[in-house]
C-alpha cells in the first residue's frame, strides 16, 4: 500500500508483483475518498471503536464498488 511518483514508476519498481502491476493501481484522489469515508472522520470520538469501527468493512466495500474495484484482488478472499 504504497505511493509512487507515477504509474511508470510503479512499473519499474524492483519489488513489483507482476500480477498487481495494473490491477493494483489507484489514483490518489480515489485513495482520499476511500480513506475519507464517514467512519474515518470519527477517529477521535469517544465511542469510535464501538460505534464507528464496525462500519469500516461495509464502507470499504461500498468504496470499492464506487471506484469500480470489485475483483477479489481488492475485495479480499
Amino acid at each position: 500500500m504504497n505511493l509512487f511518483r507515477s504509474e511508470e514508476h510503479v512499473s519499474r519498481w524492483a519489488l513489483l508483483n507482476p500480477a498487481a502491476a495494473v490491477e493494483g493501481l489507484i489514483p490518489l484522489a480515489d485513495l482520499a475518498a476511500w480513506f475519507g469515508m464517514e467512519s474515518r472522520r470519527h477517529l477521535l470520538d469517544d465511542d469510535y471503536l464501538s460505534r464507528w469501527y464496525p462500519e469500516r468493512d461495509r464502507e470499504r466495500r461500498a468504496a470499492m464498488e464506487h471506484l469500480g474495484k470489485t475483483t477479489p484482488f481488492w475485495l479480499g478472499s
Partner: protein, 155 residues
C-alpha cells in the same frame, strides 16, 4: 472479556497519544492512566489491538507498533503538522487518512518514491488536497487483500 465502553476508552487513550506525540503508549502507561495493575494494562493493550485491525504489536513483544493511520516505527511516510515532523503513517494509503486526526490543520506527507528514491509529497486540510507533488502520484496495492492477513498488503 473487556466490555465495549472500556475498550473505547483505551482505544481513545492510544489514538490521542499517537496524535499528540507520534508514538503509542507502553502498556504500563495504559495501566497508570486507568488505575489498573500493570498486568491488566498489558492485557487491555492486547484486547484493543485484537479489536482494531490492522493494528499490531511487534512480534513476540508487548510493544505497540502499528495503530492506523499511525505507526510507531519509522516508515517512509513522514507526516508534518504545524511545521513539526513527528508522525509516521502506517502506509501510503493510510497517509491520506491522517488529515482526520488533525482537524483544521494542514497535514503534509513526505515520502521517497520506492522506485527512484525521488521525493513525493502532498498536503491536506480537513480531507481536501491543497498540494500534490508530483501531480502524477498514484497509489499501488502489491498483493491481493486476504481477509485476516492485512499486514501482507503493506509490503
Amino acid at each position: 472479556m473487556t466490555d465495549a465502553r472500556t475498550l473505547d476508552r483505551a482505544f481513545q487513550f492510544i489514538m490521542r497519544r499517537f496524535a499528540d506525540t507520534g508514538r503509542g503508549p507502553h502498556y504500563t502507561e495504559l495501566a497508570k492512566a486507568f488505575g489498573l495493575p500493570v498486568e491488566e494494562g498489558r492485557q487491555r493493550l492486547h484486547d484493543v489491538v485484537k479489536a482494531f485491525s490492522p493494528s499490531w504489536l511487534h512480534p513476540e513483544t508487548d510493544y505497540l507498533v502499528s495503530f492506523p493511520p499511525f505507526h510507531s516505527l519509522p516508515t517512509q511516510y513522514r507526516v508534518t503538522v504545524d511545521g513539526q515532523q513527528k508522525w509516521f503513517a502506517q502506509c501510503g494509503f493510510e497517509a491520506t487518512a491522517m488529515t482526520w486526526l488533525f482537524p483544521g490543520k494542514t497535514v503534509r506527507v513526505d515520502a521517497p518514491c520506492l522506485d527512484c528514491g525521488e521525493p513525493l509529497a502532498f498536503e491536506m486540510r480537513d480531507g481536501q488536497f491543497l498540494r500534490v507533488e508530483p501531480a502524477t502520484m498514484v497509489g499501488h496495492l502489491n498483493h491481493p487483500r486476504i481477509a485476516g492477513k492485512d499486514r501482507l498488503a503493506f509490503l
